[in-house]
Amino acid sequence: MITEWVQAAAIARNEFRMQWRRRALLVITLAMLLVAVAPVLMLKNELDEDQKLSEKVENLSSRGLMSFVFIPVGAVLAMVLPFIMADAIPKDKQLGVRELLDSTPLTTGTYLLGKMLGSWLSVLVSLLAVILPVGAAWWWLIGKFDVTYVEPWLIGMIPMMVINMGLAVLITAGQPDSRRAIPIIVAFFVLLPAVIGFSPNGDWRDAFNPLRPGLFFHYTDTLRPNPAQMSVEAGTSSAQIRLLSVELTIISGLAQLGLVWLVVWRWMQRAK
């Protein structure tokens, strides 16, 4: 059992190393950083030192940070990064390494787990590489912000990262190269959301939509002045409905991940 974990960790480390040494993830991270830094610099010029201290500015600063930084980063996470992670398994076949890996006593489950851990680690570091410096710059150049605003974002983004990156790795596992993996990602992360659609108040569609709108809407609701005072439907506030939608989205996302894992694992076992 220890050997399997060491092997999975080695695959994850290798995947992380390769993702970062290739240009794509680095370019996307830098692009996200640029998009996130721009509003900091623009706002800095508009505020003088006295204004920075006011409570009003802290509120404005918090909302600005959430809107201008975290929403675009979340959108990249949902729609762009799956494309980068899609070749985690096809790449092994494309490079001709797979035959070598198959000649080792590595089990299919360990291989899949290692690939998924690697994609999560790569994306997590990419997100942190954007959020931490931008948060620090914001605090230093604009003024302090309400840190608790980060919580709903993390609640949304961590599950989205786990579910969507995991699915991106698994649904492309049967493809022989990166080129063939891309249409699968387009179908799953672009066409399927368009077919399923979004629900403005949170319903079953949120649970099946690969863009996980339940997580996004929960976050954007937090940005509104007072979620508790929002429209009340049959005695339940929309914030509560959203929270239900978040739970439903996470549970159904993890269930999808588990199901796809099982199918891919069985298929790879048979192909061996």
Binding site: V6, N14, R17, G96, V97, R98, L100, D102, S103
Partner: protein, 290 residues
Amino acid sequence: MIEIQNLDKTYKGNVQALRDVNLTIGTNMFGLLGANGAGKTTLMRIIAGLLRPTHGHIQVFGHDLSTAKGKQAAKAFLGYLPQELGLYPALTAREFLDYVAILKAITNREMRRHQIESALEKVRLTDVADRRLKTYSGGMRRRVGIAQALLGDPKLLIVDEPTAGLDPEERVRLRNLLSDMAQTRTIILSTHIVEDISQSCNDLAVLDEGRVLFRGSPKDLITQARGQVWHITVANGERPDNGLLTVSTLQLQDSVQYRVLGQPNSRYNPIPTEPSLEDGYLWLMHSARV
């Protein structure tokens, strides 16, 4: 010990790659000779547990490869160099070997480091081990492939065309390395370069169209061509009889000297010559086709 019984492999489209192969391979170096498409790589991949046979049984050191458990157990002491080896271009040789070593279940860091250094030393890549693999030449990549196959001190080493792309000096070094290792383990060497076999194997099989055409020692294979190898010299522009198999051609000043297999016409004044392993192989293949 590897025991192969009644092995058949048919690919999709009814392409029969192996037909009723029966072999027993013990400790030492075993050579697999055959033309391209003869079934060598298919047989190697089946022994390595990468491919399922259509029919037949195969046991590797007592482990039945028809079961998942047996396959997993056999892979624990396998070193494998595929014909078309892929590497991660973004990794250095040392990183790649470390990765493969962990996948081969060498989890002890110190042991891994020792084995990696030893393998790098054997293939003479220590000095460039921290360079990314994308900067390596074809021969260097092949040597990385050999180094990874040596990790874990495998009891069974399967090497498919190991000398392809190596310069003559490296080829000799590799042959010597494999010969040394073969004293205590089983090495299966597949190649279409007859010289590699003649210099290092004392047991071999020749495959043709999926069948074992010959099984024995290099000496036995050479014997097949005894009395059939000749040197003949003809004038420029003239060619020997169609029935003869030309092994080599040497352009002289005003004539051409041929090394041929068969029974040449006496008008050529043929000179009988001692057969080599290549002659034996070519005569065997020629006889099988005729």
